[in-house]
């Protein structure tokens, strides 16, 4: 009897030591039958729970994936703080609040050694310290991308080179800004505050904030609408309400599929960007299913599907080769490393409350 047990252990050891087999061994520890019929609740940025890649997961495990979208980092934090674990299993925070979420103990540490694709994920993203605490990792690198200057190329024929395009009298009332404190980062970039030190944008002094506010107030007559969700921005472009906006790659990706001619650039002043992680909410009801979701999403093939849909850069480099040549060209995958270096990625803002107040004050002016 002992011998059998021992040999089982040895065999199990062999299984875990070689990559592909691990999944099957682990599948035995998770009771897949019991998971059937359950619902995985994802609280995510728009586009992170699209049917184009959730469907296969749903069919594989006989479960439902329910995505709830949030429109800003602050919205995510406030939802989590008012008892998120009861409603959501997986979240996708950006680099500006990820650290806070980890240090506030709102998420579970990840069993990274159980993720078969963990070793293949981008080392730079994995190495980031903001989602590590006491030697444990709390976030799986997911996607990253820029806050582009997006424009309707049918109206604006020349490729814009500066954010100052927003101030062009020709486009009065034709600009859309993001209804979020990141508009303050944009103003600060326009004022050149991050020339020498990227982190300045997230630690602006009162005087600098006042200058940013003045800049944003000056921009107001140009602005048609402050968009609160990517879907709203899509509609503003579609209905010809705006011709240029700050936005994410998702917007041109969506609109060009519908036959529009929307382009995106990073102007000379630079652009901010974001790094999104997947995290499992503390006290999540479907922790095992959440772990399976992370396992599923980290596979190159699924990452590629996500990139096809969102045109965001994904954390598994093996996914890039699986993209259609068209998407590879659109996303300029070849030069993604240099883009990664130029972007000023969102960092935690210590005085977030004040930033939010300034942004409201801009609207009140």
């Amino acid at each position: 009897m002992k011998k059998i047990a021992l040999s089982v252990l040895v065999i199990a050891g062999l299984f875990t030591s070689c990559g592909k087999k691990t999944e099957e061994a682990k599948a035995e520890t998770i009771d897949l039958e019991a998971l059937k019929g359950s619902t995985l609740n994802i609280l995510a940025w728009e586009g992170y729970a699209d049917a184009s890649f959730t469907k296969a997961f749903e069919e594989k495990y006989g479960v439902t994936v329910k995505g709830t979208y949030f429109g800003s980092s602050d919205e995510l934090v406030s939802k989590l703080q008012s008892g998120g674990g009861a409603s959501y299993d997986v979240i996708t925070p950006s680099s500006d609040v990820a650290g806070y979420i980890v240090s506030s103990d709102l998420v579970e540490p990840l069993a990274t050694d159980e993720l078969t694709a963990w070793a293949t994920l981008s080392p730079v993203l994995k190495g980031m310290k903001d989602v590590q605490k006491d030697g444990k990792t709390y976030g799986m690198p997911f996607t990253w991308g820029p806050d582009y200057l997006i424009y309707n190329a049918d109206v604006i024929k020349e490729t814009p080179t500066s954010w100052n395009l927003f101030f062009d009298p020709k486009y009065k009332g034709k600009i859309a800004m993001y209804d979020d404190i990141s508009s303050i980062y944009l103003a600060a970039q326009l004022l050149g505050y991050d020339k020498t030190d990227q982190s300045v944008l997230y630690n602006l002094t009162e005087e600098q904030l006042a200058a940013c506010k003045a800049k944003l107030v000056e921009l107001k007559p140009q602005v048609r609408k402050n968009w609160a969700s990517a879907g709203e921005l899509d509609n503003l472009f579609k209905n010809k309400e705006v011709v240029a906006a700050v936005g994410w790659p998702l917007t041109p990706a969506n609109l060009n599929k519908q036959g529009m001619n929307i382009k995106a650039v990073i102007p000379s002043e630079g652009a901010t960007g974001w790094i999104d992680r997947l995290m499992i909410v503390k006290g999540a009801k479907n922790k095992q299913l959440a772990q399976l979701w992370l396992e599923y999403v980290s596979q190159p093939a699924v990452m590629a599907q996500i990139a096809e849909f969102t045109q965001y850069y994904v954390s598994n480099p093996a996914a890039n080769a699986l993209l259609t040549p068209e998407t590879q060209k659109l996303m300029d995958v070849a030069s993604m490393d240099s883009m990664f270096k130029t972007l000023n990625f969102w960092q935690p803002v210590k005085n977030r409350k004040r930033y939010n107040e300034i942004w409201s004050e801009v609207k009140n002016q």
Partner: protein, 281 residues
């Protein structure tokens, strides 16, 4: 025994009011005198900064006053539009009165959000209105001020709250005895004098209660401003929504809520006193 069963009957209502009215109010009252850390976690120390901020930072007191002005505009516009409409249905319509009445209530059958979106389709740059004007050659360039502006927000609010004002006014009209109007005319008063001296005083309670309703509802509205408003449109409820959502500053949000609540209570008190005074006349 009889008395006890009476209390038993009223108990569910009291429980309901306690759970869903008294408790939440107590909650926002206590929240409003607490503080937060930078990311909005509530810190349990007694702190009146939120109230001080509301009365010192223009963002809060200006928005509050502006919202009041908007609310007054909406209430007045609703009254002005309702008077002839309600008068028409009450006095001029003889057949199918209930049909006309249903027409006023009909918009209630649709969700507010759907109706607000409908205005986007009507007022947009390529919307129904602009396309029509462009086609008929009235304008050369689409009018852009009619959407994503204060204009579109007020238009939507007036449209949404019109039935709330029209119905009480209509009810007041209905209660006027026709013989009073006839008597006034017999005594030589023309239509305008009859309206001013006889009809209007009689419908005043309806006008006040309807107007107050529109006023209070506008004060608490954030949806119209966020869906149809431009970069300048900011209602006090948008600020409350921001404070509870994106800014994550529950104490300040609660404090704004308390201030708004007190103002609305005052308003209701004044309005009901005024209404009573005119009812007894």
């Amino acid at each position: 025994m009889k008395k006890r069963s009476k209390y038993l009957l009223i108990f569910p209502l009291l429980l309901w009011l306690f759970l869903f009215l008294v408790l939440p109010y107590l909650f926002i009252l206590t929240q409003s005198i607490l503080a937060t850390d930078d990311f909005g976690k509530v810190v349990y120390t007694l702190n009146f900064d939120s109230y001080i901020k509301i009365f010192t930072n223009p963002l809060y007191y200006e928005t509050l006053t502006r919202t009041f002005i908007y609310a007054i505009i909406v209430a007045l516009a609703c009254i002005v539009l309702s008077l002839p409409l309600a008068y028409f249905i009450a006095f001029k319509v003889t057949k199918h009165k209930s049909f006309y009445y249903t027409l006023i209530v009909l918009p209630f059958w649709m969700s507010y959000i759907v109706r607000a979106y409908a205005w986007k389709i009507i007022l947009g740059e390529q919307g129904v209105l602009n396309s029509f004007f462009m086609y008929s050659g009235v304008i050369k360039k689409p009018l852009s001020f009619i959407l994503y502006s204060d204009f579109s927000v007020l238009l939507c609010l007036i449209y949404i709250f019109l039935p709330f004002v029209c119905i009480p006014i209509y009810t007041s009209f209905e209660q006027i005895s026709k013989s009073l109007v006839e008597a006034s005319k017999d005594l030589g008063a023309n239509s305008w004098t009859t309206f001013r001296k006889i009809i209007f005083p009689l419908i005043l309670p309806g006008v006040i209660s309807g107007g107050t309703l529109a006023l209070v509802l506008t004060l608490g509205d954030f949806l119209a401003a966020s869906l149809l408003g431009g970069p300048n449109t900011l209602f006090i409820s948008n600020i409350v929504q921001n404070l509870f959502g994106t800014s994550n500053d529950k104490p300040l949000g609660s404090a704004v809520g308390v201030v708004l609540l007190v103002l609305v209570f005052l308003l209701l008190e004044i309005s009901s006193r005024y209404e009573k005074k005119h009812e007894t006349q």
